[in-house]
Subunit: 370 residues, 2 copies
DNA sequence: TTGAATTGCGCAAACGATTGTGCAACTCTG
DNA sequence: CAGAGTTGCACAATCGTTTGCGCAATTCAA
């Protein structure tokens, strides 16, 4: 029978029962045995607590215990599907361990990030999971968390050496590039996200490595991009596609960027994959129904969430475990229809475009529905 | 100069300065004037606070103030792009007003929802924003929040009469249906999400109304669907597409469902929009690059977030404002390429096969050649 | 019958902030 | 120079829990 009006507290329950708050507290926290509370008293407390719908105040509890049973999550853009899914996995795993999650969106802005982090620390989160915007300034809270553990996710940082969990961005890019090279592509461009962030730069490095070991040029004229938005993707793709020597393939270092590439290609009347092959990062539900269905480097989002939470919780339980562990999770390539096989080693220059209707592509790989 | 080791508190700062915590508190909260703290003391406090990187403990503050400056957000699936965007807007607006957001994902499960809500209440959120899973049981916390305000979003509820903000789901469905009817469609199906949830049912009602006022049948044989997932969408679309009298158009009551429809159509070798027109709900970045680009009923997500936060904060500031306001925000139709014009008023029957009442599962849909 | 052991629980001090009240030490005023 | 007014801050209670310590009352042993 819920009292709609009663902001019942442990204290008031104790008063009603004519016993001390201490006893109620001990009963409710299962310490009845250890403190030799009589069975009778215990049952009376339990019964009354249930009947009144008592929920103990976590605020007061946290204050006393110096532990909030909550963690902070700092994400650059929660509306980016990759981070949305990651956030979901993290929240789910944390809940599984009895932790709540305080989420903030840094909007890829270092100041917002710093402010949000300070706020979370002032709310006494037990630990922090951060996908950092970039290398933090010296007065950034990331550098002096109040002794509370912090684990990075998706993006590593050199400067403050913190434990981290990411997927193997570099290898993902290598895989994608090798895939294209094996299908005869020689000029392969990159539409990048935010230069300077770890995931982005690692992917660029992977691309460069693969190109180099195939003896191919990987100059700056093959890279463009200024951020993880569709518009930035469109602009970058346009730049690349208008180069004198147009790439026959591009890597889009993010699924939102792939949308930009697709859109730019439409505008320029360039057919994917006939005139331009495309490999994108981060699988999404819709990646199988774009035209064409996208070949994708998939990150293990669920594993990322699980690992990062577990790692943080380990640190919370036993701090000061000095060597900041780094877990790099494997990625895999999902082949769909956005890559054209140019045949053995031949570079086929793109023909002057002319719009052909979209072929009724048959369904292929299923989007990663978890 | 950040003390990496100092968990500085207002209290300890006061001790260091040789003054009382009361004074420090008053200075830090800008009450120096009102309490006639001398300029000298004020500056000494401010300086020391800045130098030591002091952040006041919000836990203790909240306990004393009986106000946490935080709100809870309960979402059925944060990885659904619609809710992810909504969450972002809500978090952003709340932050703008100085509130933090505690997010939980109910996974469309009433028990998880109830547990999460209880947890949030025990963490003393000042208010709650909920997209409810369904009509809550009598012992659901939604029915007896501890006197704290709660605003629903996206989904209304009849039972506990709470203020709410949604978009005009019903009118959106009417718009979409009228759009199709105006283009000559007569058999228009619905792929629904979770029957019983408000948004879903309102859309169905809108569809029925539009069909009825055009004198068209809107029977249950034109509706299918069991949830907001791609797989559910595929299954529902398959059911519809295999009916003896196949619809010439379908409404997908959610963007993820549209992906399912697209996929099912591929499998059945039915070309969109040539053989089947499609209108979906909730615009997404990728909706413009699917094949074909999707005609969409768009919800004003930013406005939804803004309104729901503002409404909640009003309630927090001045509770007991009895009439539970409901704000219904307008939607609009974005025309793209997934609807075919069948010509003025001509009823183009789907392949006029033999009239079989509800065949459970005919072998395979005809190859939609025409 | 008495001292020791056991049982069952309450007292009170934290945790770290906020705030109404009080009280010295000045500064005026006449 | 005495009383009144002002200035500048400290005291202590409070928010709701948790927990070390202690103390009555009962039971037991001798």
């Amino acid at each position: 029978m819920p009292h709609t009006t009663a902001p019942m507290s442990l204290k008031s329950l104790a008063r009603e029962l004519g016993i001390s708050a201490a006893t109620v507290s001990r009963v409710l926290s299962g310490q009845a045995e250890r403190h030799r509370i009589s069975i009778a008293t215990r049952d009376r407390v339990l019964g009354a607590a249930r009947a009144s719908g008592l929920v103990v105040d976590q605020l007061a509890r946290s204050l006393r215990l110096r532990r909030t049973q909550s963690i902070g999550l700092l994400i650059p853009d929660i509306s980016n599907p990759f981070f949305a899914q990651l956030a979901r996995q993290i929240e789910r795993r944390a809940r599984h361990h009895g932790y709540s999650v305080l989420i903030a969106d840094s909007e890829e802005d270092a100041d917002v990030e710093a402010a949000a982090m300070t706020l979370m620390l002032s709310r006494r989160v037990d630990g922090l999971i951060v996908a950092p915007v970039g290398t933090p300034a010296t007065d950034n809270p990331l550098r002096s968390l109040g002794g509370r553990p912090c684990v990075l996710v998706d993006r590593l940082l050199e400067q403050p050496s913190l434990p981290a969990v990411t997927s193997d961005h570099r290898h993902g890019a290598e895989l994608a590039t090798q895939h294209l090279i094996a299908r005869g592509h020689r000029r392969i461009g990159c539409v990048e996200g935010s230069p300077g962030t770890f995931a982005n730069d690692a992917r660029i490095a992977g691309w460069r490595a693969a190109m180099a070991s195939a003896g191919l040029a990987a100059g700056d004229d093959l890279v463009a991009g200024t951020g993880y938005s569709v518009d930035a993707g469109v602009a970058a793709a346009r730049t690349l596609l208008r180069r004198a020597e147009r790439p026959t393939a591009v890597l889009a270092l993010g699924n939102v960027l792939a949308l930009g590439v697709l859109q730019a290609a439409r505008e320029e009347r360039i057919i994917v994959p006939d005139d331009l092959s495309l490999v994108a990062f981060d699988d999404q539900l819709w990646a199988a129904v774009t035209s064409p269905a996208l070949t994708i480097v998939e990150q293990p989002i669920e594993a990322l969430g699980r690992e990062v939470v577990d790692l943080l919780l380990e640190r919370i339980a036993a701090p000061l475990d000095d060597p900041p562990a780094r877990r790099i999770l494997p990625v895999r390539l999902i082949e769909r229809e956005s890559v054209r096989d140019l045949g053995a080693g031949r570079v086929v220059p793109a023909p002057p475009a002319q719009r052909t209707p979209d072929p009724p592509a048959p369904a292929h790989g299923r989007a990663g529905a978890r």
